[in-house]
């Protein structure tokens, strides 16, 4: 190239009026200014800290029974009272987040991975594959999670792994549907045509070209699903599946104590129930915040 046809001054590195922040920086920035997100995050982190370090600061061993002091109401030495075996309810509630905070997130991650892959596949190829898979997914989504879980657990035997797999797979279709609709919009953009014009393979186009651009809806859906997963795990352990005694798990505790509410021993159930509620609310607040940050 001759020197003469160069513009008189080299182009500036960027248009001067574009913001200096990257899109992800912008999302982070708006997350940190969102009261909803920060409240949710605070609640969530509280339970994560309890799960990780609760055992070191709780006043009693959550598993140690003390039959003499069974079913004492909340008082100074047992803030939340004791259960029928004399175990300290406060200590059990604090440590009780451990199992649910392992099982629910793992189930959600499994759902996200499976759902994203499936959604990319049917969204990208469309056609007959999409028609068939979508109908199957819809049928699958019509069955309540608990029923699927019960059937699976009866067939496979109860264990945390079973619960993770069952909840993961039953949430995957919902995530797949979200990803699919995002991919449908994305595949019409010209950069996908440009990839075809380079003879890129379908896998490259789906995972390298399209996937990074559909991360926002996936993140939002994942946080929403986490809330539901927590609820589902608690329900299953309440029904006696998945998490097994002597874990101080909330759902499990409620299940073994709720028969006694009639006798006036409310404290054996209330605090576990509140704990589940607060965790679900916390996660939902985070989900709301994430949704807001990506959509304003």
């Amino acid at each position: 190239m001759s020197a003469t046809d160069t513009p008189a001054s080299p182009p500036a590195p960027a248009a001067p009026d574009t913001a200096s922040r990257s899109p992800w920086g912008e999302v982070l920035h708006s997350l940190l200014r969102s009261g909803t997100f920060l409240t949710g995050l605070f609640i969530l982190l509280f339970w994560v800290v309890c799960a990780l370090f609760g055992q070191y600061f709780v006043p009693y061993d959550p598993l140690a029974s003390d039959i003499i002091n069974a079913l004492t109401p909340p008082a100074a030495d047992h803030w939340f009272g004791t259960d029928q075996l004399g175990r300290d309810v406060f200590s059990r509630v604090i440590v009780g987040s451990r199992d649910i905070l392992t099982v629910a997130p793992l189930a959600t991650i499994l759902a996200t991975i499976a759902g994203t892959a499936l959604g990319l596949l049917i969204g990208y190829f469309r056609g007959i594959v999409d028609d068939i898979v979508s109908r199957v997914l819809e049928a699958f989504m019509a069955i309540p999670v608990v029923i699927i879980a019960l059937l699976a657990i009866v067939a496979l035997g109860t264990s945390k792994i079973t619960v993770i797999v069952v909840i993961g797979l039953s949430f995957a279709p919902i995530i797949a549907r979200t990803v699919r609709s995002a991919v449908l919009a994305e595949r019409e953009l010209d950069y996908v045509a440009a990839a075809k014009l380079r003879h890129e393979g379908a896998l490259h186009t789906m995972f390298v070209e399209i996937l990074p651009n559909v991360i926002p809806p996936i993140l939002v859906e994942t946080t929403v699903r986490l809330g539901y997963a927590i609820f589902a795990v608690a329900t299953l352990s309440f029904m006696g599946f998945g998490i097994q005694p002597p874990s101080p798990d909330w759902g499990l505790s409620i299940s073994s104590n709720y028969g006694m509410i009639g006798g006036g021993f409310w404290w054996t159930v209330l605090f576990d129930a509140l704990a589940i509620a607060s965790l679900v609310i916390g996660v939902n607040l985070v989900a709301d915040g994430v949704h807001g940050a990506f959509n304003d």
Binding site: T4, D5, S9, P10, P11, T18, D190, L197, R198, H199
Partner: protein
């Protein structure tokens, strides 16, 4: 045009300053704008995007976005200070005396209400109800030359074409008989033929109405046809003002001079010289401007320009220029030398030979012939320009070539003598890299998650078959060939301006040394100065690499600049095909004639114009005989309705699909002497 009859000014902006709050700082968007529009006057506001044109319009009705505020000055509408109105008075002023028409009529109309409902609503606000309101609405639609208002009233906005929607939007704007009509890029999204209709309408309405007009457009030619006076806005400052004729024929500010030079004019072609460009960038909003805002991009700038802000010099006859050296403005040296490397005429065998190409889509059981029996050929280093209204099959044809869409059986596409498979997947690697595309919208064409380095490296790897060190060397060359620098490689597309993004897209298309590059409206989203730079780049790349272009554009001036051959498409059929000069200079097909006549021209040589009635018919149900007969101003009789004319050779290499013999066309069109774009 009518002279203002009474003294009161319709709009008076005094020292108007507006700022947008971005990142906790007030950034100036308008800087002390003084502007007066007399009653009955049409005032044009021009400038590149980001100069503050739309902000002026929004300020007039105090309709700025939430982060915008008027930081100084005053706005008077009909002598009434807009700044002092309380919310009720402001509402009434907006309802009674000002109306706005926006760029995109599809968004300005409520999609879920029938046209009739939306129109009568305006009269109901004024207290007219029932049948009286309906009658008024019908009258309004009549006024904007809608032939069957009753049926249009029953329709929803999406059932109307873009041109009809804009007419309805104008009807709504005129319903309250405003004293001030603000038109913000009213024809920008429309086809040239539709644009011409809408502009004609506005012109006719001007004669009937008393309204003053503020006409905002980036299209200098449109403004020159519509307005009495024109103001040029740069970085939120009025840099030049005067009567339209004076400003465009005798500009006195280097920015105006440079803007006018960016346009391909008077049938300029790529082998006659490069277009001029404006170096550098517009100052960002809120930038601190010490001297003249244009000094950084102005080759005439002296030390004085950089330190002393020029006042608006009065040049007499109502002319103003914000330049210390307004007398010399026209001696602005070119930013880009005009000289072009001489290209020897070629007689190489065609690189592309298309024979009898068809594409039929199924649409609700009816066949929709998007492309019908298209045959073209193209030599290496030549450009084939595709022109026609939207819906004429230009883009479908391009997609057939690329293999993104498979054609019907029967036709053939040959690349350098070898048949191209209809589907991309069955083409060889060499064939794939030989035919590439530059898309219209770089935001869609470049993956927003990838860095420029990733985008170009991947193209070099896949199309160029390169890797490692050779890839890096070639990447550097490629980046330099489209005049980007290494600094641009690390960033994501969103950090680049529109012009730079389009350079990246061009670089990607050239990564595998293509034989043919399809350019699908590559400059339609860009400002004129950027457009000129991109067109120059395309012309340079072509002369260096002997690549052929298929160039699609609705801007005939641009097509003419770059094209060696032109194919005029209508409803998927080629109506005329031939060397660019022959097609443009005529005699041409009546459709081509109408297209050329629709283009607004800077030099107001208003010859009698040809207007096409109605819209392009549906391709699912094309007219019998000659598909153009329903709109043809030169229809000769029943033969046009019953028999489809053949493409017949008018001159060697120049074919026309018309029943009127060539000699007859020549006779019909000679007295008119349609000025080319």
């Amino acid at each position: 045009m009518t002279e203002p009859s009474h003294a009161a000014n319709a709009l008076e902006l005094k020292d108007l300053s507006v700022a947008y709050r971005v990142g906790r700082r007030n950034r100036a968007v308008l800087r002390n704008v003084n502007l007066t529009i007399k009653a009955g006057e049409a005032y044009g506001l021009v400038g590149e995007s980001g100069c503050g044109k739309s902000t002026v319009a929004l300020s007039v009705v105090r309709y700025l976005p939430r982060n915008g505020s008027i930081t100084g000055g005053s706005i008077a509408l009909d002598g009434q200070d807009v700044m002092k109105l309380d919310s009720e008075a402001l509402r009434r002023a907006r309802a009674d005396s000002v109306s706005m028409v926006y760029q995109d009529p599809g968004k300005a109309l409520n999609p879920s209400l029938r046209i009739g409902r939306q129109l009568t609503e305006i009269f109901e606000l004024a207290g007219i109800t029932g049948q009286a309101a309906t009658d008024k609405a019908t009258a309004m639609l009549n006024r904007v030359r809608i032939s069957d208002p009753v049926s249009v009233m029953q329709r929803y906005p999406h059932q109307l074409s873009g041109g009809m929607q804009q007419r309805v939007a104008i009807a709504m704007a005129l319903a309250n008989d405003p004293s001030m009509l603000i038109l913000d890029e009213p024809t920008t999204g429309l086809d040239a033929t539709v644009e011409a209709e809408v502009l004609d309408l506005i012109g006719q309405l001007r004669c009937e109405l008393s309204a003053s007009i503020l006409f905002i457009s980036h299209n200098l030619a449109v403004v020159s046809n519509m307005c009495d006076r024109v103001g040029v806005l740069y970085a939120g400052m009025l840099v030049e003002e005067g009567s339209t004729k004076d400003v465009f024929n005798d500009p006195r500010h280097p920015y105006t001079v440079a803007l006018l030079r960016c346009l391909p004019r008077g049938g300029q072609r790529k082998d006659q010289g490069r277009l001029d460009t404006i170096p550098g960038f517009l100052p960002g909003i809120g930038a601190t401007i010490v001297g003249c805002a244009f000094a950084d991009r102005c080759a005439l700038a002296t030390e004085r320009c950089r330190t002393e802000p020029p006042p608006l010099y009065e040049l007499g006859d109502g002319r103003l220029s914000r330049c210390h050296y307004h007398d010399n403005a026209q001696s602005l040296p070119r930013a880009t030398p005009a000289d072009v490397p001489a290209v020897a005429p070629k007689h190489a065998p065609p690189v592309l030979q298309v024979e009898g190409l068809n594409k039929t889509y199924g649409s609700h059981g009816h066949p929709l012939r998007a492309v019908k029996d298209v045959s073209v050929s193209l030599r290496p280093g030549e450009t084939l320009g595709l022109v026609g209204e939207s819906g004429s099959g230009k883009t479908t044809f391009a997609r057939l070539l690329l293999g993104l869409v498979a054609p019907d059986d029967g036709g053939s596409i040959e690349l350098e003598g070898k048949k191209l498979a209809p589907r991309l997947a069955s083409r060889s690697e060499d064939q794939v890299k030989a035919v590439q595309i530059v898309f219209q919208n770089p935001d869609s064409a470049l993956n927003r998650s990838h860095s420029i380095r990733h985008i170009l490296s991947r193209a070099l790897k896949r199309l160029g078959g390169l890797s490692g060190k050779t890839l890096d060397t070639r990447l550097e060359e490629l980046v330099r060939s489209v005049r980007l620098t290494d600094r641009h490689l690390a960033v994501k597309p969103r950090q680049l301006s529109g012009g730079l993004k389009q350079r990246v897209a061009i670089a990607r298309a050239f990564a595998g040394d293509p034989r043919i590059v399809v350019c699908d409206e590559p400059t339609s989203a860009l400002d004129v100065s950027v457009q000129a730079a991109i067109l120059n780049l395309l012309a340079d790349l072509q002369s260096r690499q002997d690549v052929s272009y298929i160039f699609i554009s609705h801007d005939l001036g641009v097509v003419r600049y770059l094209s060696d051959k032109i194919a005029v498409l209508y409803l998927g059929r080629i109506m005329e095909f031939g060397p660019s000069e022959a097609v443009f200079s005529g005699p041409h097909h009546p459709y081509t004639e109408a297209l050329l006549s629709a283009v607004p021209k800077l030099d107001r040589t208003e010859s009698s114009r040809i207007r096409l009635d109605g819209e392009i018919p549906s391709a699912a149900n094309p007219p019998t005989g000659c598909v153009f007969h329903t709109r043809c101003p030169r229809k000769i009789g029943a033969i046009c309705e019953t028999q489809e004319p053949q493409l017949t050779e008018a001159q060697p290499g120049h074919t026309i699909r018309c029943h009127i013999p060539y000699a007859e066309l020549a006779k019909l069109q000679r007295p008119r002497a349609v000025e080319p774009a």
